[in-house]
Symmetry: C2
Subunit: 289 residues, 2 copies
Amino acid sequence: MTETRFADAQWFTEVATECGSAFSLEIRAKVHEQQTPFQKIEVWETKRWGYLMVIDGFVMLSSRDNFLYHEMMAHVPLFTHLDPRHVLIIGGGDCGTLREVLRHPQVETAWQVDIDEGVTRASEKFFPELCESNNDPRARLHFEDGIKWVKEGEAESVDVIIVDSTDPIGPAEGLFTEAFYRDCLKMLRPGGLLVQQSESPLLHMQILKEMHHAMRGAGYADVRTYQFPQPVYPSGWWSATMARKGRVIDSFREAEALAAPEKFGTKYYTADIHRAAFAMPAFFRREIG
Amino acid sequence: MTETRFADAQWFTEVATECGSAFSLEIRAKVHEQQTPFQKIEVWETKRWGYLMVIDGFVMLSSRDNFLYHEMMAHVPLFTHLDPRHVLIIGGGDCGTLREVLRHPQVETAWQVDIDEGVTRASEKFFPELCESNNDPRARLHFEDGIKWVKEGEAESVDVIIVDSTDPIGPAEGLFTEAFYRDCLKMLRPGGLLVQQSESPLLHMQILKEMHHAMRGAGYADVRTYQFPQPVYPSGWWSATMARKGRVIDSFREAEALAAPEKFGTKYYTADIHRAAFAMPAFFRREIG
């Protein structure tokens, strides 16, 4: 919601009702509003965070801090996989994850399957830097239902699946189920990786526990959660959870990851950050082990 | 400030004006308000974060997430030092850092020097769990000016100095100067450690750069920043900076740190978290090296 308060400035506020917290950014103007067949997309020009995209009232990304999320969603699985040639992104309509994936020279095909074309069109307009690889010949943009795509997908056809979705309520709910994870497992080649954003370790431990349970239930050999800051999401502390087909997650291509800041221009991701992100809090280990 | 909005709930909001962001917690009632000779202390009962202490309008801590800050301010330096017997806390009036320091059996004396007794009295009332070690015979609570205390302090009398202060504006400004760091250096024994909260890596890189410069200028042999989540502070992403007298910061007592979750009951801190916290983002390394 927006309001004029706090010393007469105008603000966009997202209330995390069940968490008893709210986060606000000072805005200059609303620059986009669109009701698509799937959701309501709004874009605001903020005072100090660039543009802000909001879907159904929930903050998706800002120009200032989306590098944290996109780099950690893409480079952690892509440097963990030994040879990531074929990558499938479910959701990710803002194209920021796609851009990071395509920095990897081994990648031959990157499919982005987001149900809502409106997100990509709005991103092209207000976050053009995230869309700069959309015309890469390796990129395949599809505007379709990711759940159906994976259900009908060819067995053992991809190396990495990145689920870059909204929260597990509403349209994205089906992306957090054991049935979906099983369909992903089928599409992955041996040693393949599934990674999904997994909410805040402080606020959403129940969701995290259920994800671990569902991924293990679907038949993955290993499931690991990693953490990173994401200031525009509730608590500012976020996580992703990665599952592997047929082998444990115990190493990554460190020598290549070391070159990421210089070669890929990463702002957050480094080989040290990759390793460090898997260190989980004592309370997390007590609950998930 | 407080307001009634967001579906008729009542909220406390801290506006980070220069950052163009704001953070709010849903509250039930104000339970304490006091103007001391130094500052205005307020305590709120929140709906989902326990109690919230606010000084001069700035969030200090909540019952729900203060463990992150207190564990990282205490255990990182105390497990880095080889034999931390004498510890000085500057600020820290809520006593949470003191409690964590006193979990270390080697500690013989822990001085807490906060200018404002009002903070400790309010904490005893609303955060009694943080004050449970205040009567430990090793604890020495002084309500005095920390800058003066360190200036007049005995040379080579302490092993670790923890500066647990408010932001570098207002009363705490003098705690972020080269002169103060030099007085701390004098009080430290060889190999001793100074650690200070150092704001948000996303929002306050200028302060971080100045701290590194001032600590090196004061004569410390090594200066290292580490990061951790702190949801109630702007951006939810916080840091501390540690400087060492006469030797580099290149290891910690890992075998003992491994036992911290079981022995000390830490909720966030583990040996893995300790090591991981020093992995800094690519942009940080570009600016501070």
